[in-house]
């Protein structure tokens, strides 16, 4: 705690104001005279500056005491050069006035009373008034203020406020920003001097090698490693000497020019050489010696700064810095006690594309065994961070290998321990099970690095919404081998339950990872050992896979798994077989699914009915499911099925059930109603009207005319986020449109025209009309660049062509919309002229106005 008086305690003074002012003026003058005399003797260096700064401190303390009371505690801090006690005759007095609480009217009077006398005495004051609450936004504050804060020093008042101010935010982030800004400022300033220190009339402060460069090097050390400059070849003594020399020269420049003048002109050089007692028969000789010393010191400063810039550690997160050999902890003791911070170490190395340093790995190795899996990811945020960490990208294999080698991976994912250095002898595998597992992830990261344009499997990876779940599945795909090699897929799938619970995975995600682990051998078995030209083989495989997202993930998992068996195992021949199975299954799932409908005798129907809630009867469920494609049951959870069955019962013609659900950033609109012309295009039109970006969806029409449509979309224009009544309005509009009370086409027209004008398609749309794959439907596949209202325009064109839109699969992959429509016309497939006309119409719609 500071022992300085509080303003309230010593505000009163009995002396008449004029006398007080005269006394203060005399004190200030005395202080200035002292510095001037030392300067004239050539001794205006560090010591003289310190004395002057201390006398200025006393002056500020006196003003503080007389400034009146404040409503909360307050502290006054010197910043920049004044903070370093290097105040020169005409330097700015940089002050931070820091309050413990938000300022009130009385506080402003106090600030005024404190600063006005300084101005009255002709001092140039740079002041910052803050409250400690502002500290939370410190990382966004003015860069020069952040740098000045590195030299902050308490003068008077509550000295603890500074720690509270700076402790309110993540100082590593503040330091990182300050360093980045410092580098930018340095570059710009040095560029003004053509980046050379050899100036004939150097600016003692601004020139390369001058005082600002010296302070910059010191600031880098303070922000990163206080011992940094002592490790430079320049050495601390040379820097001290340079500082002393430059301060003396600057003091002479201020004294001689009687103002804030830092340029060492030829004239000033002569006076400085005389004041500092340089020998020589002529002024020129003395100046040459002075400038020779100047350049020597400036070179030392320049070299030290370059060293600091080159080798200085960079803060990369709380308690984390980047050092020469990688990312390490700043405070090892703190890190050892906080295992929940360790993932950030590996994440930082991943982000910076560097290694984790040896000493950090040693720390992890020494302490990992002391903690349980939950202690590494104790909060939802740390669990989410672990999943983010697992997203495939260059370096993931190396970081996971480091974690494994340091014993962290087995602690974090205890199921992984069982395959540590596990040897399983067979004809194919060349590596231990753990290394094989990690190599699958290396394959994946290489695929991610290649980018979607580099190949078909890379494109599948790029299309995945949650590739981290694929990595999790790969980590677990062989953990069962630690228990029983023959049954390892099933064992592995069971073990997924543990990690899913620890990481708080949702039911859907857990089921996906279980599926991938449990079925990880199936796709290679079918592709390489079965006749995939037999449609029945493909149908059976499609039935196991169920939906395209799973198919894609299983395909890429298989590719990565086979490729990690040995360098020779994944041949182009095998890749081709795998790809063909993928394409055939994809086509089955997206094109042929319409003909595989649910009948009430199916075991799946009985299972759904058996676990129904009490308010829905088995008959209602059977009736609802009858006639829907089997795919429906793979797309919706049981709860969703019961909800659909409940809402669809006794639905009269014209009635509509509509509801919205939100999951993270995504919304889902479900509509259950009876079919009518333009129904699907009206739904998609309303969503476009409100600027929603439709990401994926499914539309099912039962033979009895019941329609179940679900659209997943993002609230692109934040309509729902910004309007409390937005959800109700959206639903109301849908009901009005379906009821014929609102014409969506008319309302969308202007918006659509705008969107079409802006639209510049990057690739030509594809429309493929297939009349052969299904006995019941004409199937239209469309791949086009995603755009506002695209789905609406396409489906409207279909309805205008007299088609009934019976089934729809909507998906969006990056900028690509991939939609598959199952159409009929009057209950039959389209005739050749009809589908040719439709294709032409769709092409026109997709290509937009010419």
């Amino acid at each position: 705690m500071s022992e300085s008086p509080t303003p309230a305690a010593s505000a009163s003074s009995g002396a008449p104001e004029r006398d007080v002012r005269a006394v203060r003026a005399a004190r200030l003058e005395s202080a200035r005279r002292e510095l001037a005399e030392a300067t004239a003797r050539g001794e205006g260096g560090r010591l003289a500056h310190r004395h002057y700064s201390q006398r200025m401190d006393a002056f500020v303390q006196e003003l503080f005491a007389a400034a009146g009371s404040v409503t909360s505690s307050v502290g006054i801090f010197a910043l920049g050069g004044y903070g370093r006690q290097e105040l020169c005759l005409h330097s700015d007095i940089d002050l931070l006035v820091l309050f413990a609480a938000p300022l009130e009217a009385g506080d402003e009077k106090f600030v005024h009373a404190l600063l006005t006398p300084l101005w009255d005495f002709g001092l140039t004051v740079g002041h910052h008034v803050r409250e400690i609450g502002d500290g939370t936004a410190l990382d966004r504050d003015n860069a020069e203020f952040l740098l000045a804060l590195t030299d902050a020093r308490s003068i008077v008042g509550d000295a603890t406020l500074l720690d509270r101010f700076m402790g309110a935010t993540d100082m590593a982030r503040v330091a990182a920003r300050a360093l980045a800004e410092l580098r930018a400022l340095l570059e710009a300033r040095r560029a003004r001097f053509n980046d050379t220190l050899y100036q004939l009339e150097p600016d003692l402060k601004e020139s390369p090698g001058g005082l600002r460069d010296l302070f910059a090097a010191q600031a880098i050390a303070k922000l990163t490693d206080p011992t940094l400059l002592s490790q430079s070849s320049v050495g601390p003594q040379a820097l001290d000497d340079a500082e002393e020399f430059l301060l003396r020269l600057r003091a002479i420049a201020h004294l001689e020019s009687k103002r804030h003048q830092n340029v060492l002109t030829h004239e000033l050089q002569e006076r400085a050489a005389d004041a500092m007692g340089y020998p020589g028969g002529s002024p020129r000789e003395r100046v040459e010696r002075l400038m020779s010393d100047y350049f020597r010191h400036a070179r030392a400063v320049d070299r030290a700064l370059r060293w600091a810039l080159r080798t200085g550690v960079t803060p990369v997160g709380p308690n984390l810095v980047r050092w020469g050999d990688g990312v390490r902890f700043v405070d090892n003791r703190q890190a050892a006690a906080r295992p929940e911070t360790w993932l950030a170490l590996f994440q930082a190395a991943l982000d910076l594309e560097c290694t984790v340093s040896d000493d950090a790995l040693t720390l992890v190795r020494q302490h990992a065994g002391h903690f349980t899996a939950d202690q590494f990811v104790p909060t939802p945020a740390t669990r989410a961070a672990l999943l983010r960490f697992l997203r495939p990208r260059p370096g993931l294999y190396a970081r996971l290998s480091e974690m494994h080698e340091a014993g962290l991976l087995g602690q974090l994912l205890p199921e992984f321990k069982g395959i540590n250095c596990r040897v399983v002898r067979d004809f194919y595998h060349k590596y231990t099970v753990d290394e094989h597992t990690l190599l699958t992830i290396r394959n994946l990261e290489r695929l991610a690095e290649a980018g979607p344009e580099k190949g078909r499997f890379a494109r599948l990876l790029s299309e995945m919404e949650s590739p981290e779940l694929l990595v999790l599945a790969l980590l677990y795909h062989d953990v069962g081998k630690g228990i029983d090699v023959d049954d390892h897929s099933a064992i592995g799938a069971r073990l997924v339950g543990g990690v899913a619970a620890r990481l708080g995975l949702g039911d859907e995600d857990r089921a996906l990872v279980e599926f991938l682990v449990g079925q990880h051998l199936r796709m290679s078995f079918v592709a390489f050992r079965r006749d995939t030209e037999d449609p029945e083989i493909v149908r059976q495989f499609a039935q196991v896979v169920g939906v395209e997202t799973r198919l894609k993930m299983l395909c890429v998992l298989t590719w990565a798994d086979v490729g990690a068996v040995s360098p020779e195992t994944l041949t182009p021949w095998k890749e081709e077989l795998l790809w063909r199975l993928y394409v055939d299954t994809y086509n089955h799932l997206t094109v042929a699914y319409g003909d595989e409908v649910i009948d009430s005798t199916q075991a799946a129907v009985a299972e759904v009915a058996a676990s129904r809630p009490p308010d829905v009867t088995a008959t209602e469920i059977e009736e609802f499911l009858k006639g829907l494609p089997r795919r429906y049951l793979q797309l919706f959870s049981r709860e969703a099925v019961y909800s659909h069955a409940r809402r669809s019962r006794q639905l009269s013609p014209g009635a509509i059930q509509t509801w919205l659900e939100r999951k993270d950033q995504e919304w889902a609109l479900t509509v259950i109603t009876r079919d009518q012309p333009f129904l699907f295009s009206n739904f998609s039109g309303v969503l476009s009207l409100y600027g929603m970006d439709i990401l994926r969806g499914y539309a099912f029409t039962k033979p009895d005319g019941l329609v179940v449509d679900t659209f997943h979309f993002s609230d692109q224009e934040r309509f729902l986020a910004l309007n409390h009544e937005g959800e109700a309005e959206l639903i109301r509009t849908i009901e009005h449109v379906v009821g014929g009370r609102v014409d969506v086409a008319a309302r969308l027209k202007r918006r659509e025209e705008g969107a079409l004008r802006r639209r510049l398609p990057r690739f030509a749309p594809v429309v493929h009309c297939d009349n052969d794959s299904s006995p019941r439907y004409t199937i239209v596949e469309i791949v086009a660049e995603n755009a506002l209202g695209l789905l609406y325009r396409m489906s409207r064109a279909m309805s205008e062509s007299g088609c009934e839109v019976d089934l729809v699969l909507i998906s969006t992959e990056g900028q690509r919309a991939i939609d598959v429509f199952h159409l009929t016309c009057g209950g039959h497939k389209l005739s050749r002229p009809q589908h040719e006309a439709l294709t032409a119409n769709l092409q026109r719609v997709l290509e937009g106005p010419s």
């Binding site: 390489f528 050992r529 079965r530 006749d531 037999d534 021949w573 081709e576 594809v766 493929h768 596949e781």
Partner: protein, 109 residues
Amino acid sequence: MKLIKSIVRPNKVDDVKSALEKLHISGMTVTEVRGHGKQKGHTAIYRGQEYNVSLLPKMEVEVVVPDSIANDAIKAIIEAARTGEIGDGRVFVIPVHESYRIRTGEREV
């Protein structure tokens, strides 16, 4: 001696191997190959776009057998590899004049 070179569907290799083993023919060379016969591949559609699959993945199984069992071997391969559909593959039979065991330099006639 005859070299019997069979181009078969990938999923039929295990069946062909089993059939040959029943004839006590255990030494064989199996190679992944790609090609097309009369069917000249086919057109596949992925996401609405057609692409031509001209070279189809097949397996090549090579065995060298004494003349005395060549016909049995050919018959066994054909039976094991047949599905009755286009793309079942081919069997080529080539006379072998001599063969040498590399390890010992021994000549077999």
